[in-house]
Symmetry: C2
Subunit: 400 residues, 2 copies
């Protein structure tokens, strides 16, 4: 059977890296490759209490079809939480989605025609590129440094005709970097002046190790910013629950598109999450996640310091789940990965995170799912591999 | 803020009927408008047992990210169930989706380019038209009668260049009709001969009141048919759990597209549903749903017989949730709806279910969520309204 695939489907290629990374599920591999939160933080007990309550008190609405916009009382809760930060959010401005990933798909459908200009960071979140690319945009990579994108490079020529800028200001996936307040303000000023839509993807905003928060882009340019939030990193990703906050005109279009995409996000998971968060659970829970992740981040930074040869650079994240490593330019992290897998350690090469002009000598390390002792051992193996490649020898040293 | 909407987003119009139908949520309205299953059939106790077990024994995998293809053991269970019907299904041919609606979106993305020919029944499921239309196909409505589409009208000229035929052979939404075996065989022969993909949407197949099943299109043309199944009508729609069965090459593309759409369907709901169905729960449960729906279908048929004036026609479904009513040609069911709402009874006008050339004198009645006594009263009001419109008087009779 020859399927009559669409142009967008024909353009899809299968990922070689995905195939390589399949082995990382084997327990003897120390994997820094996952983008997974730590299962140690999953609220199992709160889930037990909440599911019992939902099935005792709200079974009919939890099991029936629901509104495409999402559960009314959860929209109200989210609106109230965000309104506390100063920039008011009305419940009508909140749309629940099946994970933040779905929000990216809905926004792409609403705003991208073939050839539309879309501005992205350098590098940026791979899942967003996958969602947007199905709608065939022309990407423009905005110059960025260790602190994030450089607003001054967003000249009128770059912005001209852009459908939106996609930004992750807090502890970006893949780099872990955070955009400083002054750049947020500069970016928001550009958005307001040029009516440039900004998609602010913010799954990691709560994970500042000091419990601080910089002003969101949304609070600085409420009309132009489409804010994406998620319960994946503060509760559990297996619930697939995220949300969009934007002005009513955009939400109205997204609701129609959402209805065609999956009618609505599961009523059951929305009811359960509402029961958990409306009891104030996150106030105590998020600090626990922060403490755990901060400790593991420190363990990885210490291990990198100890085991990486000269010429390797990395950033020092203030929150989130990732560290970004830049190897000497002569090295290719995809080649390194094949070697690393043999030594039972894994990471994600950086190249796929670039919309244009991939930098082959970069890689992403995730530290949150690995115990500190294993973090040290994994980084030790990586450091030895890098040193060996820099030294030009390709023999396999014994693992002692 | 002027949003730079895509062409597809600009083409979206808000539904006037949806606005009218919002009042049907008021408890004093007898609503035959919903496409909802009866909440009386929801497996609340089984859900309680299953959620408890999942959170005690599989909490980590139920709350963590999972594979885009879906939960392995649930794919195996579905494959085994379908294999019993004779045409073997392998687990690799099963993709779990966030409700069947998502399957429609994924298939549209995989197979439709702007202007692609898509064949649909007359009338057809509105939600499918909504999903497909975002990808800008050219619809061709295939001639149909009270028993479904007429295979002999699928000439080579009609099929030429078609990306797929979308069909609902069992108790179709909106008409409730079922395609006879001889037509299924004729259709499958055409699919095999011309390599015409057929999307077989089958959410109601288990709801035959006699517990019978006609051969699926998939079993008759396994290579060409993309089969869609759902737990919405046999367990609960609020779980948003459906699946696609198709050959490996198509599934591989759909998995990539699914990953961009929402990463994966919630792990938690998949685990819970697996616990329920793997215990054999559906064997006892589905007959209960059939009995309830058959009884309510009979109640509505009897009421139509008693209260509808001459010149009104309807079908006699052998399963499912819907009856399709054809009024005399002089009447417009959308106008009738406005009157009906005043008399506190609701239905869905038939026009939106046509991809081309809407028939304004048709309407869909759903009987499954209404008690028999209320069914009779609702149909009585409707019959009186129709009689009044046929009689040419527009006065509001008192409701006694």
């Amino acid at each position: 059977m020859q399927w009559p695939f669409s142009r967008r489907a024909n353009a899809l290629t299968s990922s070689a890296i995905r195939e390589i990374l399949k082995v990382t599920e084997q327990p003897d591999v120390i994997s820094f490759a996952g983008g997974l939160p730590s299962a140690a933080t999953f609220p199992v007990e709160a889930m037990q209490v909440a599911t019992r309550k939902v099935l005792e008190e709200h079974a009919e609405s939890a099991l029936q079809y629901g509104p495409s916009e999402g559960l009314g009382k959860l929209r109200e809760w989210i609106a109230a939480e965000y309104s506390r930060d100063g920039a008011e959010v009305r419940p009508s401005q909140v749309l629940l989605t099946t994970g933040s990933q779905q929000a990216l798909d809905l926004i792409a459908k609403a705003l991208i025609d073939p050839g539309s200009r879309v501005l992205v960071e350098t590098p940026t979140y791979l899942g967003a590129l996958q969602a947007f690319s199905l709608f065939e945009p022309e990407y423009v990579s905005v110059a960025s440094d260790d602190q994030g994108l450089l607003p001054e490079t967003l000249t009128p020529e770059v912005i001209e005709g852009a459908r939106f800028l996609y930004a992750l200001p807090n502890f970006q996936n893949p780099t872990g970097r955070r955009l400083p307040l002054s750049r947020r303000e500069a970016l928001a000023a550009i958005a307001r002046e040029h009516d440039l839509p900004i998609v602010e993807d913010d799954p990691y905003g709560d994970l500042d190790y000091q419990g601080e928060r910089l002003a969101s882009l949304r609070s600085l340019a409420p009309k132009q910013v489409i804010h994406l939030g998620s319960f994946s990193k503060v509760l559990a990703p297996g619930l697939r629950l995220g949300y969009v906050i934007a002005d009513d005109a955009l939400i109205a279009k997204l609701v129609q598109i959402k209805q065609a995409a999956d009618l609505h996000t599961p009523s059951f998971t929305q009811q359960v999450v509402y029961e958990i968060v409306s009891q104030g659970f996150l106030k105590g829970h998020i600090p626990e996640i922060r403490t755990l992740y901060a400790e593991r981040c420190q363990a990885m930074l210490a291990a990198l310091e100890k085991h990486m040869p000269e010429g390797v650079h990395w950033n020092r994240p203030e929150g989130g789940m990732f560290i970004w490593v830049t190897l000497p330019e002569s090295l290719d992290s995809t080649e390194l990965l094949t070697e690393a897998i043999r030594e039972r350690v894994a990471f994600v090469p950086g190249a796929p995170f670039y919309a244009t002009a991939p930098q082959a000598n970069t890689l992403r390390l995730s530290f949150v799912t690995v115990e500190p002792a294993r973090i040290e051992e994994g980084v030790r193996r990586l450091g030895r591999l890098v040193a060996r490649q820099l030294g030009g020898t390709s023999e396999h040293l014994p693992l002692v």
